[in-house]
């Protein structure tokens, strides 16, 4: 019973052979097929270019083959995607979906012990809308009211499954920082610290000074324990300082909401002073002014394509920012920060062809592999490479076009969305979706301005 291995080539080459070809509309089996082959597609890999008439083979939920030909067993389920495009799942590194109204613990400018998972509502409709737009992973972040906000949740968008099943396994921890107008407005309007950018950064420095002392106390205690000192007395455990100390220890990916070029420089200087790295600046509308410097620090950006002007610190935002920063060597991701935009990040990537002349391969990387790097999950997803998770989208046409629609979305090799299905098009969801809270629309974003 050894499975015969077939070489799967474009349809023309294997016409008449063997495999039962599943009609696309009928491929609604929610069980994960051991082997799934999507053939005859334009395959945008995000890591090694685009393959015309290519195939993608998923084996037990992982990518087992990508190329003009793949070696899949005879029993594989085959989807003929002639005329269609295949990409890795879209990844949004900046979302506040499914957090209800619990995005900002705006009662203190330093709240690093807030765990966004405690607010995560896995039945929020925003997750479904994103899934229908081809989004397979999201970084659910604390808002930007606080200089040091809370710790993010990384999800796989397996809409319909339980909360636990939607968590991205073993994803690194991320923490949200903010800067600029939002913290100073939120606290300044209450006549509290901070009400200026000086205040913003003072609050941050003080937090890290406190964390240094706390970390020393605990390191010293742990040293004593390691040396067998049974009389060592544990210091007081403080959740807030625990989290800050972990930042100093480099255990958290630091994600900073920041618009202005001078603030990128200040943030980098503070990070250097306290010995941690900044993973990414989010929004980062003025990165085009200092891209070379920030690229040297190894910090990425997660930016809007063409949003600007909502507030003064967004006034110098230009739609060429992403491509200009990329040309300066910055790793660039696009993100939604909105329950609306998350539904068409593929189109947002398409705008990068218009604004600055990105190649289509560069553009697709901005919504797949680069956001995966920002979230620290690029070894598992974000591109069509052997061994990675089977997070794959089939599009009716080039996903960078305005006319593109996500037709099928697979996560870990399992079908979660199929636009040809009646009803919602979901494969796992039944019951009642919850309304979207914060960030439900642009107006809310504009009014609150602290996401």
């Amino acid at each position: 019973m050894s499975p015969s291995i077939l070489r799967l080539a474009p349809a023309s080459a294997i016409a008449g052979v063997f495999l039962f070809s599943l009609d696309m509309a009928a491929a609604q089996n929610s069980a994960v097929p051991a082997d799934l082959v999507i053939k005859n597609a334009t395959v945008m890999t995000a890591s090694h270019g685009t393959i015309q008439h290519g195939s993608v083979w998923l084996h037990n939920g992982k990518i087992a083959g990508v190329g003009a030909m793949v070696s899949a067993p005879a029993g594989a389920t085959v989807i003929d995607a002639t005329g269609k495009y295949v990409t890795p799942g879209i990844i949004d590194p900046h979302s506040h979906s499914a957090l209800g109204d619990d995005v900002n613990e705006a009662t203190s400018p330093v709240t690093p012990s807030m765990m966004m998972i405690d607010a995560f509502d896995n039945r929020d409709k925003a997750l479904y809308l994103a899934l229908a737009g081809g989004v397979t992973s999201e970084l659910l972040l604390h808002g930007s009211a606080n200089m040091i906000g809370g710790q993010a949740v990384v999800i796989k968008n397996k809409f319909g499954l339980s909360k636990e099943e939607m968590l991205f396994p073993n994803a690194p921890r991320s923490i949200k920082f903010a800067s600029g107008e939002n913290p100073k407005r939120v606290y300044g309007t209450r006549n509290q610290l901070p009400s200026t950018r000086m205040g913003n950064f003072e609050v941050m420095r003080q937090a890290f000074e406190d964390a240094k002392v706390y970390r020393r106390e605990w390191d010293s205690y742990n040293d004593k324990l390691a040396k067998g000192d049974k009389d060592a007395k544990p210091p007081h455990r403080d959740l807030k300082l625990d989290a800050l100390a972990d930042i100093l220890r480099g255990k958290l990916l630091v994600q900073i909401h920041c618009y202005r070029s001078d603030e990128f420089l200040t943030e980098e200087a503070i990070a250097q002073e306290y010995g941690f790295k900044i993973r990414a600046f989010h929004h980062a509308l003025e990165m085009y002014k200092v891209g070379g410097k920030i690229a040297a620090d190894g910090t990425a950006i997660a930016t809007f394509t063409d949003w600007y002007g909502g507030k003064y610190e967004m006034w110098d935002g230009i739609p060429w920012n992403a491509v200009m920063s990329m040309r300066e060597g910055v790793r660039v991701a696009l993100k939604s920060d909105s329950n609306d935009h998350i539904r068409r990040l593929n189109q947002e990537a398409g705008k990068m062809v218009h604004y600055g002349g990105a190649t289509e391969d560069e553009a697709i990387t901005m919504v797949t592999l680069n956001p995966a790097w920002i979230m620290g999950i690029d070894d598992k997803t974000g591109s069509l490479d052997l061994g990675k998770d089977g997070d794959v989208v089939i599009w009716n046409m080039d996903p960078l076009s305005t006319y593109a629609r996500a037709e099928k979305v697979y996560i870990d090799g399992e079908l979660f969305f199929d636009s040809s299905l009646p009803g919602f098009g979901t494969t796992h969801f039944s019951g009642v979706m919850h309304g979207s809270g914060f960030g439900a629309g642009e107006d809310d974003d504009d009014e609150q301005g602290v996401n």
């Binding site: 200009m324 189109q347 960078l400 076009s401 305005t402 006319y403 642009e442 009014e447």
Partner: protein
């Protein structure tokens, strides 16, 4: 289908033949003033040749010629049928797409500069709910930086309307997106009356109208309708009395001004609010009636019919349940924003498909951005509607000819036809695709410098390496 021709073929079309050669053609003076552009037509003829013309009224013309003279379109046709006069400035648009300037049927352009900064916002007067005597042209800031940024993507005309948190917030203006000064940019000062019904205008509700807890009148839909009905009845009575008064000797009426609005000083009969409503009560101009939910559309339409208003419906993003009924009204519909989120029980594409579903039912569909800084994305809204069922030709009309017709300027705007204002766009591909770049915009036949505050920042910081 036109759009099929474009799919996946952009790289081949992307030839930078155009913009530089155009700017040489007599606009070096204009480069210094990219924000305010003198659109007084120059003498001579401009001939745009070799492009694919999307005429809107007469289909697609491959290898077409557009002649511009005196700020107007002088000829449109194939290379074989249109003779380029000697001495014309020839613009080679080979490989390019040429189409009429796009028309955004609702924006706040010129009313808001920086969203969060109240001092730069004049979007709505919320101290009362019924303010037909508010004219957006009194606030319209022609020098807004958003205007060049919007026209950079091929939008040449727009309706400027007040925000939505009053039932009757004021009258809209129609603008050209270039001109030497405000007056030259205002095409029609009071082009329509804005009306809103439903959640947004409630007092004590969310948004700009939010008041102290508990709100004030009207805090419900009943309140909104009752207040509007009273206002229109007052205006009708005013209109009747005025007509009556005009037959009698002056002074006989005294101070017997009907209620509603603030009366004139010294017992004057003249009442700004009632005066403002007259052309709309007479059905001389359209009211743009904004409502999102199906049941709100029904209520608002019933009210409008009661007063025989000439209606253009607006929004309808949660009106899927009454689309047949909407078609039976036989009124045009501005749909959107198409990016509105669907309702709780609706499929992900419930809003995306509304333009297509309405068009299928014979409704004249218009798309609008309802925005300021995102108005430049108007063509992509139309493209998105195509992805979900709106025929391509209808999508192009929805942002050109249809709004021109509805706002009474189809003799001047909306298509590549002889005699119309030469608002013409040249782009390197399908106007509705996000990957396409506009290469040149003409307004009044004047080549507009393709320069904005944003391109200046781009050029200042463009990577050297």
């Amino acid at each position: 289908m036109l759009r099929i021709l474009f799919v996946g073929r952009f790289a081949a079309l992307r030839t930078p033949v155009l913009a530089t050669s155009l700017l040489v053609a007599g606009s070096s003076v204009l480069l210094a003033q990219a924000r305010m552009v003198d659109t007084t037509p120059a003498a001579g003829t401009i001939a745009i040749t070799g492009g694919k013309l999307l005429t809107i009224t007469r289909g697609v013309i491959e290898n077409g010629v557009v002649l511009i003279e005196g700020g107007k379109i002088a000829a449109v046709g194939t290379a074989a049928s249109v003779k380029v006069p000697k001495g014309a400035t020839v613009v080679d648009a080979k490989g390019m797409t040429v189409y009429p300037g796009l028309f955004d049927a609702e924006t706040r352009l010129g009313l808001s500069e920086i969203g969060s900064d109240r001092t730069t916002n004049d979007t709505i007067e919320t101290s009362e709910e019924i303010f037909p005597q508010m004219h957006v042209y009194d606030a319209f800031h022609a020098e807004s930086e958003h205007i060049p940024i919007t026209r950079y993507n091929g939008i040449t005309n727009a309706i400027v309307a007040p925000a939505e948190s009053d039932t009757i917030p004021g009258q809209d203006s129609l603008i050209q997106l270039a001109g030497r000064d405000r007056d030259s940019m205002l095409m029609v000062k009071d082009v329509a009356l804005a009306m809103n019904f439903g959640e947004a205008p409630k007092r004590g509700a969310r948004g700009e109208a939010a008041g102290p807890a508990g709100g004030r009148y009207p805090s419900t839909r009943m309140g909104e309708i009752s207040q509007m009905r009273q206002a229109l009845l007052d205006a009708q009575e005013y209109m009747a009395r005025r007509a009556d008064t005009s037959k009698k000797p002056a002074g006989e009426e005294g101070a017997a001004v009907p209620a509603g609005g603030r009366g004139g000083a010294g017992g004057s009969n003249f009442n700004l609010r009632n005066e403002a409503l007259i052309p709309y009560l007479k059905g001389e101009k359209p009211v743009v009636l904004g409502a999102y939910d199906g049941h709100d559309v029904e209520t608002a339409m019933a009210f409008a019919q009661e007063f025989h208003l000439k209606v253009v419906l607006s929004h309808l993003t949660r009106a899927n349940d009454i689309l047949d009924k909407v078609a039976s009204y036989h009124v045009p519909v501005i749909v959107g924003p198409i990016y509105d989120l669907p309702g709780p029980n609706e499929r992900y594409d419930a809003v995306y498909s509304v333009p297509g579903e309405l068009a299928k039912r014979g409704v004249k569909v218009i798309l609008a951005s309802y925005n300021v800084s995102n108005s430049r994305n108007l063509p992509y809204s139309a493209g998105f509607a195509v992805a979900y069922g709106l025929p391509y030709d209808e999508a192009m009309k929805s942002i050109t000819l249809n709004p021109a017709e509805v706002f009474g300027v189809a003799d001047k705007l909306g298509s590549l036809d002889v005699g119309k204002i030469a608002n013409v766009v040249i782009a390197d591909g399908d106007p509705l695709d996000v990957r396409t770049s506009v290469k040149q915009v003409y307004i009044n036949g004047v080549a507009i410098p393709m320069e904005t505050r944003q391109t200046k920042l781009r050029d200042e910081y463009w990577p050297k390496k």
